[in-house]
Every structure is written in structure tokens, then in C-alpha cells.
């Protein structure tokens, strides 16, 4: 059990800087998700924590001990790889017990810990098989078992579910969450899938181009995105984001379409400011079919034409045209709608976001 602390952590390959001096403090037993698009430096960061990549500058502390130059084996961590990285020439039992064998553990001790881990993950019947005889989900479980057996201070997960099909991924996600509750270790989990990050993590670290954009609980990053990037990255379907200019208490969009300036931002912007207006699909809905219908504070009514609808059963994603482009909205208790039909839409502006066009930073005070 341990805290992990990154201080001004930097990674350079030659002249190219991949990770630009990031700071991050992870508390004991916390489940942290590093999330971001490909190439944002999240995997590199994880590999630096693991000791698989040398760090160019800064420092890494695990449990209060600086581990900058320690080899992976001396950091008391374990890692689950995207590719599982099971040893193909060993049985499941040997795979699970490998780290104990290397450490010179006694046979009885080894058997006991392998048995414990395989019981937790339901691998008991597979112990004598080789990785090639296992399904994807089973291999994933063995990879996690191998990590548990070591009883590490910190678990590192590098996109562990990316190679599984959608159904299995959901199932394994739940298992990882249960596992964390059971083993109570610090977990650092890298993923590009924001749903995984949202569902699993205590706190989410959103990275982009080697910088940390925001660190916060799933609720914080969803409700109060610090930047335009976070706003667009977290949430599915993504937030509607459109550029506008502030003018006389109104937002004027490129096409000339207008919306009232949301009240919560009035103090923070001036006429002529270039901003990005953001509204989640949940906060724009055919009137009477929304989440916050009834109690919302600042609802703007507008009639818009429907371009496409995507029925999902319990809800329908309705694409409406506004400002010359499609805005996605979420319709609860859906009724059948036709393309081209004009419907009354409610926009809950109390939930709207504004970001400065230039810096991408939120204008919320």
C-alpha cells in the first residue's frame, strides 16, 4: 500500500519532449485513471512509473521513496499489459507463480498464494493450461492474477481491456472494480476509453500532448471541465461545442444564430470576447423529454429542424440543426420523430459551459 508522487516528471526522446514536467499526487489505495487520446503521454508516464522507461527529468516517489533509478523489480509494483504478456511456454500456474519463483519463495508459500489468486479470479480449473489454450477473457484474468500474486504496493494497468470485445470489456471492468475493493491497493490505470475511466476511477487525470489538462473526480471532470478539450473528451455522445462572440448579453454564432448569454458567465465576459459555447446532449432535449425538465433554472426554448434520429430503446439521440451544424440532444421517453420535422427544443443554459477560444480554459469563476 503506498502513495505515488510525480514531481516535474519529464520524458524526452532526443530533442522531442513527450511528457512536459507533470505533477501528480496519488493517495494510498486510490484508483487513478490516466486518460487521453493516443500519443498524449499517458502510457509513457505509466511506463516511467513502472521503471520500463528512464525519466529525463523530475522524480517519482512510491511510498515516499524516490525510485527514479531503481529497476522495475525493486519498485514493488505489478503491471497488467494491454497485450497481457503471458509467458507462452509456461502453464497458467507457472505464469502466476513466476514472480515468486524468481524471488525464491518456498514451494508451499508459492502454492498457497497461487491458489489464493486463482480463487479470487476463478482460474482454479485452468491452472494446467497454457496461454494459447485460453480465451481472451481468461488470459486477461491470468494477467491480473499474476499481478495480484506479487502483492504489490501499486498496480499499474496499461489499457488492459482494449483487446476484449465490448461485452467482455464491460464484464471485466466490473471485475477490476471488485478486485480493487478486495485487494485495496493503489491503482494507476491507463485507458483511452473515457467510460472505463469514469466508471472505475476515484480520480481521473486527463492528459493531452504530454500535459495534464485536469485532475478530478469523475463528477468534477464531467460537470466542471477545466478546458474545452476535457469538455469534448469526457462524455458520450460528446458535448456540443461551438464558437461564438459575446455581444450585448447574447452569444452570436458564426451563422448569425443567437442564444442568450448564460447568467453564470455574465460577470466573466465582455462584449467582443471570442468564446466556445458548450452544452451537453443531456441539457438539450425536445421539450418535455429531458432529464432536468421542470426544475431547471435557465431554460431557453427554440424550435429546430431534426436531421437524424438514433433510437437506443430507452432514449433517442436526436440531431437538430442549429448554427449550420448538427447538435446532438438526448431525448428520454422518446416518441417517434421524423427527419425534417421541426420540434420545440429546450436548452438548459444553467448547465452550459463557456471556454475562452484562445486558451481553451473555462470562463467559469
Amino acid at each position: 500500500m503506498a502513495t505515488v508522487s510525480l514531481k516535474k516528471l519529464t520524458k524526452r526522446y532526443g530533442n522531442i519532449e513527450i511528457v512536459h514536467g507533470i505533477d501528480l499526487d496519488i493517495t494510498d489505495r486510490e484508483f487513478i485513471a490516466l486518460v487521453g487520446p493516443s500519443g498524449c503521454g499517458k502510457s509513457t508516464t505509466l511506463r516511467m512509473i513502472a521503471g520500463l522507461e528512464e525519466i529525463s527529468a523530475g522524480s517519482i516517489e512510491i511510498g515516499g521513496r524516490v525510485v527514479n533509478d531503481l529497476p522495475p523489480r525493486s519498485r514493488n509494483i505489478s503491471m497488467v499489459f494491454q497485450s497481457y504478456a503471458l509467458y507462452p511456454h509456461m502453464t497458467v500456474r507457472e505464469n502466476l507463480g513466476f514472480s515468486l519463483k524468481i524471488a525464491g519463495a518456498a514451494k508451499e508459500d508459492m502454492d498457497r498464494r497461487v491458489a489464493e489468486a486463482s480463487a479470487i479470479l476463478g482460474l482454479d480449473t485452468l491452472l494446467d493450461r497454457r496461454p494459447s489454450q485460453l480465451s481472451g477473457g481468461q488470459r486477461q484474468r491470468v494477467a491480473m492474477g499474476r499481478a495480484i500474486v506479487r502483492d504489490p504496493d501499486v498496480f499499474l494497468f496499461d489499457e488492459p481491456l482494449s483487446n476484449l470485445d465490448a461485452k467482455l470489456r464491460t464484464q471485466m471492468r466490473t471485475e477490476i472494480k471488485k478486485l480493487h475493493a478486495k485487494v485495496q491497493s493503489t491503482v494507476i490505470y491507463v485507458t483511452h476509453d473515457q467510460v472505463e475511466a469514469m466508471t472505475l476511477a476515484d480520480r481521473i487525470v486527463i492528459m493531452r500532448d504530454g500535459y495534464i489538462e485536469q485532475v478530478g473526480t469523475p463528477d468534477e471532470v464531467f460537470r466542471r471541465p477545466a478546458t474545452r478539450f476535457v469538455a469534448g473528451f469526457i462524455g458520450s455522445p460528446p458535448m456540443n461545442l461551438h464558437e461564438a462572440t459575446v455581444d450585448d448579453g447574447q452569444l452570436v454564432f458564426a451563422s448569425g444564430a443567437k442564444l442568450p448569454l448564460p447568467g453564470q458567465f455574465k460577470a466573466n465576459v465582455a462584449a467582443g470576447d471570442k468564446v466556445v459555447f458548450g452544452l451537453r446532449p443531456d441539457d438539450i432535449y425536445p421539450t418535455g423529454h429531458g432529464i432536468s425538465s421542470g426544475g431547471a433554472a435557465d431554460v431557453h426554448q427554440i424550435e429546430l429542424p431534426i436531421t437524424v434520429t438514433e433510437p437506443l430503446g430507452n432514449e433517442t439521440l436526436v440531431f437538430v440543426e442549429f448554427n449550420g451544424s448538427d447538435w446532438v440532444s438526448r431525448m428520454l421517453n422518446p416518441r417517434t420523430l421524423r427527419s425534417g420535422e421541426r420540434v420545440a427544443m429546450s436548452l438548459d443554459l444553467s448547465q452550459a459551459h463557456l471556454f475562452a477560444t484562445e486558451t481553451g480554459k473555462t470562463l467559469r469563476s
Binding site: 503471458l86 507462452p88 497454457r130 496461454p131 488470459r139
Partner: protein, 288 residues
């Protein structure tokens, strides 16, 4: 006849044609070997006959008996030649494979300056025919005093085989996912342990095949060996074949008998090792 049964008939016919074709090709490939075995067992008259005699009229093991009968009775120092061949081939193979493993691993796993240039350079050495080097090597070896020694030939063969073993073993290490060594390091291995515990066993079949190729190259090599060795203490079996040529005659039967003696160990070794050459050992390591 409906479409299905005609398709089935066609497929069967094609199968028969394939088998006949395969048989003919294999026959062509194997015929020289068969001819050597036959020639070692029949009298010279039959060997030289025109048109060729396909089925031997009489078979005798005289050539084999004579070969081991000692000098003066038509024999040659087979045991010595065999010993020389074995020492030289095994030693140079072991060294070439050891260097090949180190080099192949470095090329497969590390980034370093001039990597592709060095690799290309190594491969280019393969384009120089060995025979073209025999005269310069001869002069060099005479000066160094290592002409007609095991050491000299081992050195030449190591140089001959190293580019090849590096290239082959590099390919096999490339197939072993990098994640495995990293996982092993996280599991508590040093880099060295990770290599021996995980990467080496997985590249094993590749290393075995590199070894067998290197061994066969040494075992069969004639051009360099014929220039760099001259006495019974260093001559290898292929060079020993020349003992059957006299000023005006060639003992084809004896030569073929010695060739058979040469082929048998190589064939046996290949047969033993080929069981270990099965690929697919890495399947299941990473996704899929």
C-alpha cells in the same frame, strides 16, 4: 451430373495431379542422393556405363571396407578427417551461435547509432563468394602461422557464419513480444534473467535452426577448407574426398562411399533438431 458432384470430382482429380507432381519434384531432388548411395555400392564399370545402368547388377560394400583399411590398402584416414570435421564444425557453430544470439538480440531490441548501416554491412559480407577470399586468407594465414590448423578454419567459418546467424536470430527475437521481457522484469527478473527465463526459451527454435544451418555450412564447406588445410591433422571430410583422385584416375566408388559417410551425420542431426524447429511457440503470449 449436378454442380456439386462435378466440383467434387474436379477437386479429387486436382488432388491426384498435385500428388503426382509432388512425387516427380521430390524424385528429381532426391535422385542425386540416391545415385551417390547406389554408386558407392557398385563396381566402377557400372558407374561409368553409358547408357547408365539404373538397377545395380551386383552390390558390394567393398568401398566401405577399403576406406577403413588403412593406407596402402585403398584406405584413407577417415577417422581423422571425421574428427577434424566434427571439432571444426561444432566449435565454429557454437561460437557463431553465441555471437549471433548477442548480435541478433541487440539488433532486435536496442536502438543505437548506425544500426541499419551495420546490419546492411553484415549482410553485404555475404555477397562476397568464399572462394574469392581463399587466396588472401591463405597468404594471411601463412604469415600468421595458422595455416593447416583447426583454429584457422574455425576462425574462417565463424566469420562466414556470424552474419547469417545474426540475421536469422534477429528475426526470431523480433517475433518474441517485447512486453514479455518487460513483464518478466516487473515480475522481479533482472534484464539477464528475463532473457534466459523468457526470451531465450521462446527464441529457442530459431536459435536451433540457426545452429543447424551454421553447422551444415561448416560440415559441407569445401572451397576454403581445401586451400587452408593440407595435412591429415586438419583436413575435413569434404577435402578428404580429394584423396580419391590420383594423377590419372578417380575412384568414383570410394568417393561416393565417403560422401555417404559424410551425409549420414548431417542427416541424423537435421532429423533430431527438426522436431524442435516447430514454430508457433509464442502463440497465446499476446492477444488474439
Amino acid at each position: 451430373m449436378d454442380d456439386n458432384s462435378s466440383a467434387r470430382l474436379k477437386r479429387r482429380l486436382l488432388g491426384v495431379v498435385y500428388r503426382i507432381g509432388l512425387f516427380l519434384v521430390m524424385l528429381t531432388i532426391c535422385l542425386p542422393g540416391l545415385w551417390i548411395v547406389l554408386s558407392s555400392l557398385r563396381p566402377t564399370v557400372e558407374i561409368m556405363a553409358k547408357p547408365p545402368v539404373w538397377i545395380p547388377q551386383e552390390i558390394s560394400f567393398d568401398a566401405y571396407v577399403a576406406m577403413f583399411s588403412g593406407i596402402g590398402k585403398g584406405g584413407i584416414p577417415v577417422i581423422e578427417y571425421f574428427r577434424n570435421s566434427l571439432i571444426i564444425s561444432v566449435t565454429s557453430t557454437a561460437i557463431a551461435v553465441a555471437i549471433g544470439m548477442a548480435g541478433g538480440y541487440a539488433f532486435a531490441r536496442y536502438r543505437f547509432r548506425g544500426k541499419s548501416g551495420v546490419f546492411l554491412g553484415l549482410m553485404l559480407t555475404r555477397t562476397v563468394p568464399g572462394i574469392a577470399l581463399s587466396l588472401p586468407l591463405f597468404f594471411l594465414y601463412v604469415r600468421l602461422g595458422i595455416i593447416d590448423t583447426h583454429f584457422g578454419l574455425i576462425l574462417a567459418y565463424v566469420a562466414l557464419n556470424v552474419p547469417f546467424t545474426i540475421w536469422l536470430i534477429d528475426g526470431f527475437f523480433h517475433q518474441v513480444p517485447k512486453d514479455l521481457a518487460e513483464a518478466a522484469q516487473i515480475d522481479g527478473c533482472t534484464r539477464w534473467q528475463a532473457f534466459w527465463q523468457v526470451e531465450f526459451p521462446l527464441a529457442g527454435p530459431g536459435i536451433a535452426s540457426a545452429a543447424i544451418f551454421a553447422f551444415l555450412t561448416c560440415w559441407n564447406e569445401f572451397a576454403l577448407a581445401s586451400q587452408l588445410t593440407r595435412s591429415v591433422s586438419a583436413k575435413t571430410l569434404p577435402v578428404g574426398l580429394l584423396d580419391y583422385t590420383a594423377e590419372f584416375t578417380i575412384d568414383w566408388r570410394g568417393m561416393c562411399a565417403l560422401a555417404v559417410v559424410m551425409i549420414i551425420p548431417a542427416l541424423t542431426l537435421t532429423y533430431i533438431v527438426q522436431r524442435h524447429l516447430v514454430g508457433g511457440l509464442t502463440s497465446g503470449a499476446v492477444k488474439g
